[in-house]
């Protein structure tokens, strides 16, 4: 993967090379994310670990920011990768795209260094502008926000102009509309208010309308592209599914936003809106799951009937990650989300480890998986090989990472259950109730298991990087 830039493959597409640059930063940030998560997890068990040196708040902030940023990098990379294929023309503004890449990467580096070394500032506007904004997931200081907006505008212009110039496939049409909404939503998180209810109201516009609306549609489009590319699925069918997914995802996800407006000072009518719309959110996730497996089975069946032996799959690891995505999205977002989406349940589970369990499985299942799949497609393209099979390392990576994250999720679900029943139901919340629940042996054991499973995840990550660096090399040499 690292050498690919020198091999000058991709049939000369600069857009795909740019995509690889984004993928490379993404994978590094993914590693940083996991390390920070491990530090934070250890602090749950040994609170003196790095106390007043590198506190939980810092580790956690970097953990979730690295998460969001690596995913955005991988998303931008994926778009640059598929753009020339879909549009049938090269991306128009590659030079500008490269410049934007370096500006963004420099900004991310500065922001992370400031997070790590300066951490907090005085209670002044300057802190929000220069150090950190203190709002979960979108902590980036205001100067960086503005920089991000500029970079995203450049990216969007590139996509839009290429779309206008080239072929307007259904996949691209969905992407172009979706990316505009995705980018625009970021603006909702860029202001300060003294009113905490107002603050949270708009904060959720960014977080929820990203992960449960615009990002999901993005994933639908990626999966559609992946299926066409990897198993030669029929475009008309894939695109019909895509529109059905858009209908159901936006139809449930936009007003499903209400499930975050139960307790933040907003009116009671949100109970009903949030409950029923978000309860329908799992439906499209089931549909996506069925769609992926169905198409795979169908294409394999057709190949068999035509007497072509072997698998229809052109990229084993990418397909494995896309199938994991279909499962993970349904489990993490659909099932774990539904668990706590009704106000009758959420009043007890709101803000407990239960939420963290859902957050992990959903982000991993719905996004990490398919973005890793796109990286494998990238590697295949970089070496220009017809068929890429999974190696032992690919299998270890997908097994250990998935097993680790599911293990963490189960542990956190148990911890959350304990917390809900003891802290919230039995003791009625509050300072004392919180710490009583945190000290319960079953809760502590769950935290231990979470940490162990975190290490498993990290070992899987090492396999993943190793695999991405080495897979396809032999085939590329053989072909040359």
């Amino acid at each position: 993967m690292l050498t690919s830039i020198k091999t000058n493959e991709f049939a000369g597409s600069e857009s795909k090379k740019l995509a690889m640059m984004y993928f490379r930063v993404a994978i590094i940030l993914f590693g940083a994310q996991l390390l920070m998560g491990l530090i934070a997890a250890i602090q749950f068990l040994a609170p003196n670990f790095l106390f007043e040196v590198f506190d939980f708040s810092v580790a956690r902030m970097v953990h979730i920011n690295a998460l969001v940023v690596w995913m955005l990098y991988a998303m931008i990379g994926s778009v640059y990768y598929l753009l020339p294929d879909e549009a049938g023309v090269e991306t128009v503004g590659i030079g500008l795209g490269k410049l934007a890449f370096w500006v963004l990467t420099a900004a991310v580096a500065v922001v992370v260094l400031v997070y790590i070394f300066i951490q907090v500032g005085p209670g002044k506007e300057s802190t929000i502008w220069l150090i950190n904004e203190g709002r979960e997931y979108i902590e980036a200081p205001r100067w960086a926000d503005i920089g991000i907006v500029v970079v995203v505008l450049i990216f969007y212009w590139n996509v839009f102009a290429t779309y206008m110039k080239g072929q307007k496939t259904g996949i691209l049409t969905v992407l172009v509309a979706d990316l505009l909404a995705l980018a625009g939503l970021y603006l909702a998180g860029m202001f300060f208010t003294d009113n905490i209810s107002m603050d949270q109201y708009w904060w959720w516009w960014v977080i929820h309308l990203w992960v449960e609306a615009t990002w999901e549609v993005f994933v639908g489009a990626l999966a559609a592209y992946g299926l066409v590319k990897i198993i030669n699925a029929k475009r008309e069918i894939v695109e019909m599914w895509l529109w059905i997914e858009v209908l159901m995802l936006f139809g449930s996800g936009i007003l499903g936003l209400g499930h975050h407006y139960f307790w933040i000072g907003t009116p009671e009518y949100w109970w009903e809106i949030g409950a029923l719309f978000s309860a329908l959110e799992p439906v499209p996730l089931v549909a996506m799951f069925v769609h992926v497996l169905y198409d795979w089975g169908k294409e394999q069946g057709i190949a068999k009937a035509e007497g072509k032996p072997g698998s229809v799959m052109k990229n084993g690891p990418a397909m494995a990650w896309i199938v994991t995505n279909a499962f993970g999205n349904f489990l993490g977002a659909g099932i774990w989300g539904f668990f706590h989406t009704l106000p009758q349940v959420n009043i007890y589970t709101h803000g407990t480890q239960f939420t963290a369990a859902h957050g992990h499985l959903a982000f991993f299942g719905a996004y990490a998986t398919i973005l890793i799949g796109m990286m494998y497609l990238g590697v295949q393209g970089a070496y220009g090989i017809e068929r890429m099979k999974a190696t032992f390392k690919s299998k270890m990576a997908i097994f250990l990472i998935t097993f680790g994250v599911i293990g963490m999720t189960i542990a956190l679900t148990i911890a959350g259950y304990e917390q809900v029943l003891v802290e919230r139901a039995e003791l009625g919340a509050g300072w004392n109730a919180f710490f009583v629940a945190q000290d319960l042996p079953w809760y502590v054991q769950a935290q231990i298991w979470r940490t162990i499973m975190g290490v498993v995840t990290f070992v899987g990550f090492i396999y993943l990087v190793w695999d991405l660096l080495t897979i396809g090399k032999k085939e590329a040499k053989a072909a040359a």
């Binding site: 139809g251 009116p267 009671e268 009518y269 009903e272 809106i273 409950a275 029923l276």
Partner: protein, 50 residues
């Protein structure tokens, strides 16, 4: 039959919120009904068209 909303501040949506799921069922219906029209419109087009 119609209750005062239980909420603090009166509002249009507060009035529609009359107990078990009235508000949300109303909104779902308003969203889905026009799809029936789209359905028949498409059917007509398919018949007339190719």
């Amino acid at each position: 039959m119609f209750e005062q909303f239980t909420d603090v501040v009166p509002s249009f949506f507060g009035y529609l919120n009359q107990g078990p799921l009235t508000l949300t069922i109303f909104l779902h219906t308003v969203i889905i009904l026009p799809m029936i029209w789209i359905y028949f419109d498409e059917k007509k087009k398919l018949k007339n068209g190719k």
